[in-house]
């Protein structure tokens, strides 16, 4: 099974809460791969909104995304891009 990892920096205004977290887990759920998000020592299932919220990721924080599965690369790319796009916050 392919494993793909990447790191991303949170740059949107509010960090990974409510709406951004909703978007994040919904995109993660589209992929079959297991996807984990790591924030320092904390680790969460990217498909769990509770897990993602509890990372407490604020603007400026660095996250590591790690996916394992057939569509791992697409999963990591999609999530990294969402974060890079600041969750479409600034229109």
């Amino acid at each position: 099974m392919p494993v793909v990892e990447t790191t991303v920096v949170i740059t949107n205004k509010v960090g990974l809460h409510a709406r951004p977290a909703s978007m994040f887990v919904q995109i993660a759920a589209r992929f079959q791969s297991q996807v984990q998000v790591m924030h320092g020592e904390k680790k969460a299932n990217a498909k769990s909104i509770m897990g993602v919220l509890k990372l407490g990721a604020m603007p400026g924080d660095t996250l590591m995304l790690r996916a394992e599965g057939e569509d791992a690369e697409n999963a990591v790319n999609a999530l990294a891009e969402l974060i890079d796009r600041k969750f479409n916050e600034e229109e």
Binding site: V14, G15, H17, A18, R19, A21, S22, M23, V25, Q26, N45, K47, S48, I49, M50, G51, L53, K54, G56, M58, A78, E81, L82, R85, N88
Partner: protein, 604 residues
């Protein structure tokens, strides 16, 4: 004054949350949060585990469906951003981590579903609060709010609890420790004069909702003052200046009452002015050419709202409301009763028309219905938008379609509604012929049974696939009308998932390819004398709606809130003018060129 100093009539300074004055009897909710207390056994036996899990899942499904309704209502009434919080709550109730924790508590430690849910939600909320950040702590309130909703279903007093704070028999001022977004969204501005809480700032979702609902609100009340208040006591708030009157004296009461009445009259006058002008007038251009303005409706409540908003008919009745969020497929009688209630609600509220165009059940893997699974199996399709959905399901399970058509026709006959029927997701002429044959058989069957089927029912199809748009000249011969489903037509034409922001950002609100297809369909309809309607976001956009009329679309169907603005803008210019702009748009070769034409309209 002999009483304690707190009874002084001078107001306390609190936080201004939502402008306006409210004075009236207090209704006090003292406890922080309103997490339902089960009061029943917290532990179960090993034999009860399976049943308990089943109940949990039923309650979870019901709560998620309820949140969907709430989300749609708030999107309609307030806005999409305000509704987002309920999406997060839906995801919380589907969260794998939370569900696993609950399941473990039930199966291994034999917790009751209520106790397991409470424990797990409290645990998750606690961890969020431990992050020591205001924004994340606010999400702790959301998980508790969502869990309370499920618990209400589990303990079976859903109705009572849901209406706990939302509706009152007489006007009151609510005083609470805290109000959740769900509480606030349920507040009825007709009886809730104002809201006063201990916690909550001006940027919370509850505050945004209060302002949108025009309910005066303050927060920052001293919790000790809260504990001294009693139900029925006359209090007042000033949400403009951030004041709380615990015991207003006679003169203050007079002034505050006068101020509240003035603001209620202003509000009523404002609404009336906005509404009255267009509400009772049919849609038309400046030169008096009719363009019917219809509403998209998804349940009885929105049918009434559509009538009140001045819809000339229902151009898209989404019948999915009857089938979603439930485990058992509704039988003909239940469907008949629901349609009858909805038809009546619209007929009573609408001054203009009694036409309803019902779309038969548009289910599929992208709009899953648990009740359908026993018939069509679980829909694990790799490509649901291109899978078994809409009319394709009808043709595999004609019994379900027959049942729905019978219920719709019977309800129309009983209520005197002009019912038209359209089938979703059509791609070929063969589908149209087979569906018409089913309809003809149902009609005959009802006549044999002696059921009056009312006035002539027109049979139309949704044009959502490029295949149908391309074949429109052929299809037009065999249907009575077309209704362009603009959202799906866009998605299938551009091969772009409309919920996928990554690709939708690449396209304009209008794309030349889509505009040309719409034009093609309208022309095919005109050539055969078949009316063409359009439902979807394009029709609700006041810049685009008149151009659709210019293209030749004679019926626009949209969410009720868009009806008045669209009627107003249509009437600004003659049909000839709109035709000119529509033709100009047809020349556009890029979305950007089309955007330039649209901008010229909004800047006018």
């Amino acid at each position: 004054m002999s009483g304690p100093e707190a009874l002084s009539p001078s107001p306390m300074v609190v936080l201004a949350i939502s402008p306006g004055v409210a004075i009236g009897p207090a209704r006090v909710y003292e406890l922080p949060g309103k997490m339902a207390r089960s009061g029943h056994n917290d532990r179960i036996t090993a034999e009860q585990v399976a049943a308990e899990r089943q109940q949990l899942h039923t309650a979870l499904e019901a709560a998620v469906a309820e949140l969907q309704t709430l989300r749609e209502r708030i999107t309609r009434k307030v806005g999409r951003n305000e509704a987002d919080i309920f999406e997060a709550q839906q995801l919380m109730l589907q969260d794998p981590e939370l569900l696993e924790e609950i399941e473990t508590l039930i199966t291994q430690q034999h917790f009751s579903a209520v106790a397991a849910l409470q424990q797990a939600a409290e645990h998750q909320a606690g961890e969020l609060e431990a992050l020591k950040s205001e924004v994340f702590a606010a999400r702790a309130a959301d998980i508790r709010d969502a869990a309370s909703r499920v618990i209400r279903h589990l303990v079976g007093n859903n109705q009572a609890a849901a209406e706990d704070t939302g509706v009152a028999e007489f006007p009151i001022v609510i005083v609470a420790y805290d109000l959740t977004p769900s509480d606030t969204a349920n507040l009825d501005p007709r009886t809730i004069l104002g809201v006063c809480t201990v916690v909550g700032g001006p940027t919370t979702h509850a505050a945004i909702l209060a302002r949108a609902l025009e309910i005066p609100a303050v927060s920052g009340l001293d919790p000790q003052v809260l504990s001294l208040l009693r139900d029925g006591q006359q209090i007042a708030i000033d949400g403009t200046h951030g004041l709380f009157y615990r015991a207003p004296d006679v003169q203050q009461q007079c002034e505050l009452f006068a101020s509240m009445l003035r603001q209620q009259e202003d509000r009523a006058a404002r609404h009336k002015q906005d509404m009255a002008h267009w509400r009772d007038l049919p849609g038309s251009t400046a030169d008096g050419r009719a363009v019917q303005v219809f509403a998209n409706v998804g349940d009885k409540e929105s049918a009434r709202a559509a009538g009140e908003a001045g819809a000339e008919g229902i151009g898209l009745l989404r019948t999915e409301f009857l089938f979603g969020g439930r485990a058992v497929f509704p039988d003909e009688q239940e469907q008949f009763e629901s349609y009858t209630a909805l038809f009546q609600a619209f007929a009573e509220a609408s001054p203009l028309g009694k036409t309803i165009v019902a779309r038969t059940l548009d289910a599929g893997a992208d709009k899953p219905f648990p009740a359908l699974e026993p018939f069509i199996g679980a829909l694990n399709e790799a490509n649901p938008a291109l899978g078994l959905r809409g009319a394709r399901i009808h043709l595999v399970h004609q019994d379900l379609l027959r049942q729905q058509l019978r219920a719709l026709l019977r309800a129309a006959a009983l209520t005197g509604i002009q019912l038209d029927i359209m089938f979703p997701m059509i791609a070929t002429l063969e589908e149209v012929r087979r569906l018409r044959a089913v309809f003809a058989a149902v009609r005959e069957e009802l006549q044999v049974e002696g059921v009056s089927t009312g006035p002539q029912t027109h049979i139309g199809i949704m044009i959502e696939t490029p295949a149908a748009a391309i074949m429109a000249d052929v299809l037009a011969r065999e249907v009575d009308f077309f209704s362009i489903g603009a959202n799906d037509l866009f998605q299938y034409t551009m091969a772009a998932d409309r919920t996928n922001n990554r690709v939708m950002g690449m396209f304009g609100a209008l794309e030349p390819s889509v505009w040309r297809l719409i034009d093609r369909v309208v022309q095919a309809g005109e050539a055969h004398g078949k009316p063409v309607a359009l439902c979807g976001e394009l029709a609700a956009d006041p810049r685009i709606a008149p151009l659709l009329a210019g293209l030749g679309v004679r019926e626009l169907s949209m969410s009720p809130s868009a009806i008045l603005p669209v009627k107003a803008v249509l009437h600004e210019r003659t049909l000839e003018y709109w035709q000119g702009l529509a033709r100009q748009l047809l020349k556009g070769e890029t979305a950007e060129e089309m955007q330039t034409v649209l901008l010229s309209i909004s800047e006018r």
